[in-house]
Amino acid sequence: MAGTLLLVGATSDIGHAVAARYAEAGWRILLAARDPERAQRNADDLAARYRAEVALLRLDILATGDFARWLDGLPALPDTVVCAVGELGDQARAEGDLAHAEGVMRTNFLGPSLLLGLVAERFAARGSGAIVGISSVAGDRGRGSNYVYGAGKAGFTAFLSGLRNRLAKSGVRVVTVKPGFVRTRMTRGLRLPPLLTAEPSEVGRAVYAAAEGRGGDVVYVRKVWRLVMAVIGAIPEPVFKRLSL
């Protein structure tokens, strides 16, 4: 059944891959971005490749006060909402620059959580819908090299977990996706281990399969990441704190 997808974070490479997978399946696509002009090339791509019906919307993920009115203004309540918003930020800078740290936390945690929470209210009232949050393995355990980002993602992961728990009997599906390394703009220039690194299209397929297929609550796009994070999670704190991570 093809429905309507709302993708929040439409300039992200992963977001675009997710939208492409839905467009391929014949869905209508609503793309939300802070800067719709920059998302135009993604909207064009979906329309040209899949003859998809695509609309571009302006949404600032930090303008939480506007969320309710914005959602009410949508042409129709979507069937699925995917939030691909994220900002890696600069850990070193965030350690001294509180405004930067706050921006990273708000962008990764506060905005996405509050928006999806509000969507969940509407989906619950309707009794259907799928909510997908693109979180990160960085949220599984805080590490010295990126804990401001990781904390934001950890909060988002916890929020999604609670939402899923609360809505389990309501007909609303909540999916947490932890992509691991993905070859995107965000990771360009980093040397990534091939077996642990997914293409954006793999994330797109994983999201679609989890939200529209047989389901999945917490999805590691490459299965090996579940093992990697289990190992990282099992390291005793007295040891972990001394590691250079």
Binding site: V85, A138, T197
Partner: protein, 468 residues
């Protein structure tokens, strides 16, 4: 690698602008073309999006764009900085009524075919590999097996957006900025960085080609067969590069026509077949000695007999017909770590026989001939640095070594003396003399570069080597 730093990998609506000024000591990486020769150090940058490219390039000199990295020599190796365009892979619009497609420069031909062939559309001109990008095809004005009828890829480009060295994206077409447009087709990325382009696809009823194979027992028969193919949609010949004496220039001529839908249905074929996943890859470190005279002779003899046996027309899927080598990934590793060069020349039609015979004979005597010697008829002459001209083009793969280079220097002189030239997208080693002799529009191209302020700003290893 900093696993920890990258552990953060996750989606982004990136809020960070690219660095405004280039670093004082850029990180250099060895980079080469498809032939693996020559290899040079270059700063590697990746474009994010068309609109961020001006900021990325600001303050940088010696920059060249690199798409699929399928130019054989040093054309896509920046003198200082090489800009990868792989992320510029969005299709911006397609009109099924006209076949008009607008796409960003980093879109690959493979992507275009995969996306539009199932709907019954195929590019008018395709080169020998589908792993090239749109920008690369335009910059090299690539030709296909139908140049005698359709001209080069550039002939089907209607418009493009070019980021000129002043940092301004300019719309170019035959009406707007016509000189810049004409010189950018085949301009090797030296007039600006192509951001996107609009070009036509042709409607096709199927993804199959009706292929007719004919034997040519010597060079004269070969040239005659290619002349007879003037009315063929596609025509290409494979030459046994090791045959000498009376068999010199023997080979197989492949004529191709798009198969009608009815024919494919009658044959019980899937109208638009998908290529096999292509799992066969030559591993890194493949020993070059496996490609010796004995193995190539055996291969060629076998190939010739097999082709000769198949006289009647047959249906061949698009990927086998147009991109036979794409089935073997990283086949360039067959030549080992020292790499190889592809020598591709064009010689004017009149008097071509003698020049081609001399080239084939001298290469055969060298004894290191490759299994790949390809001969094609080319049609009209392009502008600027565009390679094709009315004549015959011969392409040979040879291992990169001193004996090869000495021979090729002599052959180059023979080619330009006959009024021919060498394909820059394949070139790794020709001299300035042969280059200047082969491209009569070079002064105009240089003038345009000066007007654009491109001198020193846009520069590849190739442009520096050839004094462009």
């Amino acid at each position: 690698m900093p696993v920890n730093a990258a552990l953060a990998a996750a989606p982004a609506a990136p809020l960070t602008a690219p660095p405004a000024t280039p670093p004082a000591t850029p990180l250099l990486r060895p980079v080469s073309g498809w032939g693996g020769y020559p290899r040079a150090a270059s700063e590697m940058l990746a474009a994010d999006a068309p609109e961020t490219l001006p900021a990325l390039l600001r303050g940088r000199r010696g920059v060249i764009a690199r798409g699929g990295g399928r130019a054989y020599g040093d054309a896509a190796v920046g003198l200082r900085t090489t800009v990868l365009t792989g992320a510029l892979d969005r299709i911006r619009g397609f009109d099924p009524a006209t076949g008009r497609l607008r796409a960003e420069a980093g879109v690959t031909l493979a992507d275009i075919v995969r996306t539009f062939l199932p709907g019954g559309f195929f590019p008018l001109v395709v080169p020998g590999t589908q792993f090239v990008t749109l920008g690369g095809m335009i910059a090299s004005d690539v030709h296909g097996k139908n140049h005698h009828r359709e001209g080069g890829f550039g002939a089907h480009v209607e418009a493009l957006t070019l980021l000129t060295p002043d940092g301004v994206p300019r719309f170019c077409s035959r009406e707007q900025n016509p000189d810049l447009f004409a010189m950018t087709l085949g301009g090797m990325g030296l007039t600006g960085t192509i951001l996107d382009a609009t070009f036509r696809l042709r409607p096709v009823e199927s993804g199959w080609i009706v292929q007719r194979t004919r034997i040519a027992t010597d060079l004269a028969a070969m040239l005659e067969a290619l002349e007879q193919d003037g009315d063929a949609t596609y025509s290409v010949a494979w030459i046994d590069g090791l045959a000498r004496g009376s068999a010199l220039g023997r080979g197989l001529v492949y004529r191709g026509e798009h198969a009608s839908g009815d024919l494919c249905r009658a044959a019980g074929r899937d109208l638009f077949p998908s290529p096999p996943p292509g799992r066969l890859t030559v591993p890194p470190g493949w020993p070059a000695w496996t490609l010796n005279r004995a193995s190539v002779t055996a291969f060629n003899a076998l190939y010739f007999r097999r082709g000769a046996a198949a006289g009647s027309p047959g249906l061949v899927p698009w990927h086998s017909y147009f991109f036979p080598l794409d089935g073997l990934r990283a086949w360039n590793r067959l030549y080992g770590s020292r790499g190889f060069v592809q020598h591709q020349c064009v010689v004017p039609r009149h008097g071509a026989g003698a020049v081609l015979a001399e080239i084939l004979d001298r290469v055969a005597r060298l004894g290191t001939a490759s299994p790949l010697a390809v001969l094609k008829r080319l049609g009209v002459c392009g502008r600027g640095l565009s390679f094709p001209m009315d004549g015959y083009t011969l392409a040979l793969d040879l291992p990169a070594n001193a004996a090869t280079f000495a021979l090729l220097d002599a052959l180059d002189r023979r080619v330009v003396a006959a009024g021919g030239r060498l394909y820059l997208a394949k070139d790794a080693r020709q001299t300035r003399d042969t280059f200047e002799a082969g491209y009569p529009e070079l002064p105009a191209f240089r003038d345009l570069r000066r007007q654009l302020g491109a001198d020193g700003m846009l520069a590849s290893r190739l442009s520096a080597r050839l004094g462009l």
